[in-house]
């Protein structure tokens, strides 16, 4: 900050004076460019020749979009020639040059390099999105870039042929390039299927590209139910099935569309089962209830469509059962549980026993499943000491109540 750097000042002055010398030298000398051609085709040999009066320390600074390079000259009689390197020659666009003599620019210019039109061009084609929905508003976009053999984009106004096919229709359009690209929206169709496209430019044709038109959203559909019998045995399965689900253009919805079947029972509880569609049809199953019930079933394709509502009634399968108390009332046997043909009910019917003391206070709920038509419940001494109890038993929708004295 406060220090006086005499040495620095001296150095600075020295550097100033040195530079001034070179300026005067450069100013005295202005080489003239000999070649006046400024437009080239990519790949063509380019050399820049300048008239000089003998040897000079000259360099040319080239610059194109990708970078810059410094090139040393070759001598040709009294002139200096700069050969433009291949990476500058094959890049179309503007190439700037600056002639530098003794560190100062003395003359500058610009070359325009055009894409090579003679050789076989190449096509870059970009297509997307590749999956669209049937209808009227969706579309895929086809973008095409035409380039020469050196990967230079052909100038604005290049015509490219776009073709697209769907079923029996083939359409052709000529699109003029702008901002490096030619592009076209390929609209969707009302019928699901595949749209094939390609592009061609001069004698080159791109490969085939595909966009898949998927069916649109499902619309209102019908369902039906199917079952072996209508008894509430808690064992058989009821099957729900949709008819063929369609979108609004009569396309079958895509395989795997999830259908949600919602069952509402008499208690207002909702049961739920889900199935994906195959060829438009979804089928799902659910277990019969174990007591008398009325079901209302509606199916949904979430966010898109709803079915009609159907009903299913279930009759009681178990009409009544016996309850036997033994071992001083501490062992309770429920059963035999028999179904509509007096057959023993299949295992797994829920039996629920609620135990109250004599003043009506709820003490415990015991749950067991039936095995081979019977259920067993034990009231242990440790938990239920001697005294008076009130029991509520529930199985297959049948309620029974008992007053009980335990004294052993």
């Amino acid at each position: 900050m406060n220090l006086k750097y005499f040495i620095l000042i001296i150095l600075f002055q020295l550097s100033c004076s040195r530079e001034q010398v070179s300026i005067t030298h450069a100013e005295n000398f202005r080489p003239q460019i000999i070649s006046n051609k400024t437009i080239y085709e990519a790949g063509e040999t380019i050399s820049l020749e300048f008239k000089t009066n003998g040897e000079v320390d000259a360099k040319i600074l080239l610059k194109n979009a990708y970078g810059s390079s410094l090139i040393a000259p070759e001598l040709n009689n009294n002139n200096i020639v700069f050969k433009v390197p291949v990476n500058y020659r094959k890049k179309a666009g503007i190439c700037n040059w600056v002639l530098i003599v003794n560190g100062k620019s003395v003359t500058k210019g610009e070359l325009q390099i055009l894409p090579k039109s003679k050789a076989k061009p190449t096509l870059e084609t970009y297509f997307g999105p590749r999956s669209i929905t049937a209808g009227i508003s969706d579309y895929s976009m086809l973008v095409c870039v035409t380039t020469d053999i050196y990967d230079n984009v052909f100038p604005e106004g290049t015509d490219v042929l776009f073709r697209s096919q769907f079923l029996n229709t083939i359409s052709e359009n000529t699109i003029t390039s702008k901002d490096l690209i030619s592009w076209k929206n390929i609209p969707t169709t009302k019928k699901a299927g595949r749209i094939l496209v390609n592009t061609s430019f001069k004698e080159v044709t791109s490969s085939e590209l595909t966009s898949i038109v998927f069916p649109s959203n499902a619309v209102k559909f019908m369902i039906k139910a199917d079952r072996n019998h209508n008894y509430a045995d808690g064992n058989q399965i009821i099957k729900f099935q949709t008819d063929v689900i369609l979108d609004k253009y009569k396309n079958i919805v895509s395989d795997g569309t999830m259908v949600n079947f919602i069952v509402e029972n008499t208690h207002g509880a909702l049961l739920n089962t889900v199935a994906p569609t195959i060829r438009g049809i979804a089928s799902a199953s659910i277990l019969h209830p174990s007591e008398k019930d009325d079901w209302k079933i509606t199916a949904y394709v979430t966010g898109a469509a709803k079915s009609n509502t159907i009903t299913a009634k279930f009759k009681t399968a178990i009409k009544d059962y016996e309850v036997i108390f033994s071992e001083s009332n501490r062992s309770i046997t429920i059963g035999p549980l028999t179904s509509f043909m007096q057959q023993l009910i299949p295992d797994g019917i829920l039996i629920q026993l609620e135990i109250y003391n004599k003043s009506g206070k709820h003490l415990e709920t015991k749950k067991v499943s039936s095995i081979k038509g019977f259920g067993h419940i034990n009231l242990e001494k440790e938990y239920h000491p001697n005294g008076d109890y009130h029991l509520k038993l529930k199985a297959a929708g049948i309620h029974k109540e008992f007053d009980l004295t335990l004294d052993e």
Binding site: N2, K4, S15, A65, S105
Partner: protein, 510 residues
């Protein structure tokens, strides 16, 4: 004799036994500790490494003319980020002639072109330092599937230094238009086609500068370089206290001065991302100055010494944020771009420093057209640099007071049409071992008497160094050598105990 040999053997045996055991133990523990090391647990998570801002030229998008898919804000930010990264990796690639990073931001066919340039330049032993300062991209097309974008990058302001072997050969600033096509590949937006196109007529809006009223007041500057006593070179640090500053401004008022010069440290303010709390503190200082009717010269880029082209965009964002934040403050007098930049000529190259200053000068004029700009050169001789570019010329003078007026007039004879300010001068009253007991309060009085007389006679606007003697001077200021730093502590007109030194009365303005 025999007994002695025996003892020696014994000692040797026991010693070697212990040594071998120690070796074995340390070997086993080395193996165990090696086996216990492993990858850092956090490395299991592929967390994105937060990247410092490395390249941030100013980018102004125009997206209204896009016939394709509507551009999302988020995507535009990603495109901009990767496009600037593409410029950055290419700048670095041409600086080092190394392919590192190019593949991330150029598609296969585009990167071949960059590689060919690198190989050619490597062969010719030339390399480039370049940066772009401003971009005005205009969106031409964004594809429906969101993977292809075409835009025209207009008026790309680029600065480039060309080096041959190790020496700077040529510098150039140009403005170019590019047509760019980028593709989204592997989560990167990569350059597919990059074309330089015809430059449209570049019409730069001319800046209406209104600095005459302030410039005419510069001849009346009677000022002081200001740091708080307890936090010299750290005005906006942790010990910032605006009541202390307000008190100091009272003293400055009492002395009859009308201007202060303050310093903003580049790193302290957060480099490219200027910290908002620092700006708040700066505004508080300006508010206090405004209350005391003091004008403020803000010196930017203190403790910044890297003028490398690679970092130009970062320094510009730094300055832009600060300048635009306070440019309308009534206390602001003007901008001093850099303190004593000529001291960096040797280490950083004169041309690099001057180019940086010149560019910064142009930009600050754009951001704040209504305040004059200067550079605080370390000597009247150095002040000739960029004298045509700045609005008024500032220099520092710490040499023999008797030779002052000669040096000043010499500068005045070159700079005839602009105000010239003596922006720093002063004398240390340090009297101790490190200056052979040669300084003293008396010498400081003599110095200022001589200087002030000349300044009054020649009507030179002045800003002297400084208000306080300082207890602590950071090593960044004058190094750590005591014979250099000691005298830095005693340039003030109020001593360490808060008593007015004798020079106070001399510096007090009538």
């Amino acid at each position: 004799m025999n007994k002695l040999t025996k003892t020696i053997y014994r000692v040797l045996l026991i010693a070697s036994f212990l040594a071998i055991n120690a070796l074995i133990l340390s070997g086993i523990s080395a193996v165990l500790s090696y086996l216990n090391t492993g990858a850092d647990k956090s490395s299991m998570l592929h967390l994105e490494v937060p990247m410092d801002k490395v390249y941030s030229p100013k980018v102004t998008w125009k997206i209204s003319n896009n016939p394709g898919r509507t551009m999302e804000k988020q995507t535009l930010a990603e495109i901009e980020g990767d496009y600037l990264n593409a410029w950055h990796v290419r700048n670095i690639a041409f600086k080092k002639n190394d392919r590192y990073g190019v593949s991330d931001f150029y598609t296969d066919s585009a990167k071949q072109r960059v590689f060919e340039h690198i190989e050619l330049n490597k062969k010719n032993k030339n390399w480039f330092k370049s940066t772009t300062l401003e971009h005005f991209p205009e969106l031409n097309f964004y594809s429906e599937d969101g993977t292809l974008v075409v835009f025209t990058d207009k008026n790309v302001e680029r600065y480039q230094e060309t080096y041959q072997n190790d020496s700077l050969l040529y510098q150039q600033k140009d403005t170019t238009n590019y047509k760019v096509m980028m593709l989204l590949e592997d989560g990167f937006w990569r350059i597919r086609h990059f074309n330089q196109i015809e430059n449209s007529k570049i019409i730069k809006p001319s800046i209406n500068r209104n600095i005459k009223p302030i410039l005419s007041s510069i001849d009346k500057i009677k000022g002081i370089n200001y740091y708080p006593q307890k936090s010299p070179w750290d005005t906006f640090g942790k010990s910032f206290n605006d009541s202390i500053i307000s008190n100091d401004f009272n003293i400055i008022n009492e002395m009859g001065l009308n201007t202060i010069r303050i310093f903003i440290q580049y790193e302290d303010f957060g480099k490219a991302n200027v910290k908002s709390n620092k700006l708040e503190k700066l505004k508080k200082v300006l508010d206090a100055a405004s209350r005391h009717k003091l004008k403020v010269i803000i010196t930017l880029f203190d403790f910044y010494g890297d003028y490398d082209v690679t970092n130009w965009t970062l320094t510009q964002r730094h300055a832009e944020t600060i300048v635009t934040a306070v440019k309308n403050h009534p206390a602001l007098l003007g901008w001093d771009i850099k303190n004593e930049p000529d001291l960096d000529f040797n280490s950083r190259g004169r041309q690099s420093v001057l180019s940086w200053l010149n560019e910064m000068n142009t930009k600050i004029k754009q951001w704040d057209p209504n305040h004059p700009i200067t550079i605080g050169w370390s000597s009247p001789e150095a002040a000739i640099n960029l004298a045509n570019e700045v609005d008024y010329v500032s220099y520092h003078y710490y040499r023999e007071p008797h030779n002052f007026i000669i040096a000043h007039n010499q500068l005045k004879s070159v700079v005839t049409d602009k105000p010239v300010v003596l922006q720093e001068y002063g004398y240390s009253s340090y009297d101790g071992f490190w200056n052979m007991y040669l300084g003293s309060d008396k010498k400081q009085i003599q110095y200022y008497t001589t200087m002030q007389q000349q300044l009054v006679d020649e009507k030179v606007p002045f800003v002297f160094w400084t208000l306080y003697d300082f207890e602590k001077v950071p090593t960044d200021v004058a190094g750590s050598l005591p014979w250099r730093t000691r005298k830095q502590h005693f340039f003030g007109c109020i001593d360490l105990n808060g008593n007015k030194k004798s020079v106070y009365e001399i510096l007090k303005q009538p």
